[in-house]
């Protein structure tokens, strides 16, 4: 059996990579993908602790997180599409006015 803290370290590394992606990229969809990467790193932490303490709650919570991430992806991409239709760009630096 693999020690739990190895999974936690992997999850921390993936989370840090996701944070790096959010902070440094300008393409809105890539930022969104980095957010999904962070969410998955957190999922891995939940499942690692569920296995460690033999609790089903971690698994159930990941189930709900997956459903919420699906809903968030759908709505977020719809927002990007309408941003693209108005501004012809998905560079997040260009979306800097509260209304136009």
């Amino acid at each position: 059996m693999i020690p739990t803290h190895w999974f936690l370290i992997l999850s921390a590394v993936l989370f840090a990579i996701g944070v790096c992606g959010v902070l440094t990229r300008k393409n809105g969809i890539t930022i969104f993908m980095s957010i999904e990467l962070m969410v998955n790193a957190v999922n891995l932490t939940f499942v690692a602790y569920a296995r460690q303490f033999h609790q089903l709650h971690g698994i159930i919570f990941v189930f709900f997180i997956m459903a919420i991430a699906a809903a968030e992806a759908a709505v977020g991409l719809a927002i990007f599409i309408s941003l693209f239709h108005h501004r012809e760009t998905i560079d997040v630096d260009e979306a800097n006015l509260m209304r136009w």
Binding site: P3, L10, A16, T24, N27, T30, E36, I81, I90
Partner: protein, 166 residues
């Protein structure tokens, strides 16, 4: 023994493809690398004795959400967008900040979060998850279904199709 080999191999795959996601120019390559990363995370879930969740990860994340991302990128024809390198100071700060954050997290986890492994195996099959969902977690379950309905309606309205009713 073979568990460790599988763990290291797929952990390496996950990390390498995650780096490709954030570093590559072309968004389509980023999406496919993220799919590969999710697949290796599904293998991690199998190693953590949660095979039901592993298959759900492949079905939902790699099979549905990433297809959505791919469709949006293809339909908006975004693959040729070049990102000119502006804001070099912020980019440098972003990289170093994330690196420091990651290294600090890994260091403290390796030092303080070492736990003893439980002796018995963990049973998390579909039957138990289903029973738990419908007994202890029935309220969040129903709320998530309403949330998904709201997401569908929101996506339709935002993309302009919801107005085509006349």
């Amino acid at each position: 023994m073979i568990e460790f080999i599988v763990f290291f191999a797929f952990a390496a795959v996950a990390i390498i493809f995650a780096l490709v996601v954030i570093l590559h120019r072309n968004p389509v390559v980023s999406v496919l690398s993220l799919v590969a990363s999710f697949f290796s995370l599904a293998v991690m879930y199998v190693l953590l004795e949660a095979p039901f969740l592993a298959v759900l990860q492949v079905i939902i994340y790699a099979g549905a959400i990433m297809v959505l991302f791919l469709f949006v990128i293809m339909l908006l024809n975004l693959q040729h967008r070049e990102e000119p390198a502006t804001r070099p100071v912020q980019q440098f700060l972003g990289y170093t900040g994330a690196a420091v954050f990651g290294i600090a997290l890994v260091y403290y986890i390796a030092k303080y979060a070492v736990l003893k492994l439980p002796g018995t195996p963990f049973l998390s099959d579909a039957r138990r998850v289903g029973i738990s969902l419908f007994q202890a977690y029935v309220l969040p379950f129903e709320a998530v279904s309403i949330l998904l309905l709201a997401a569908i309606v929101g996506a339709l309205v935002l993309s302009g199709r919801g107005a085509v009713a006349q």
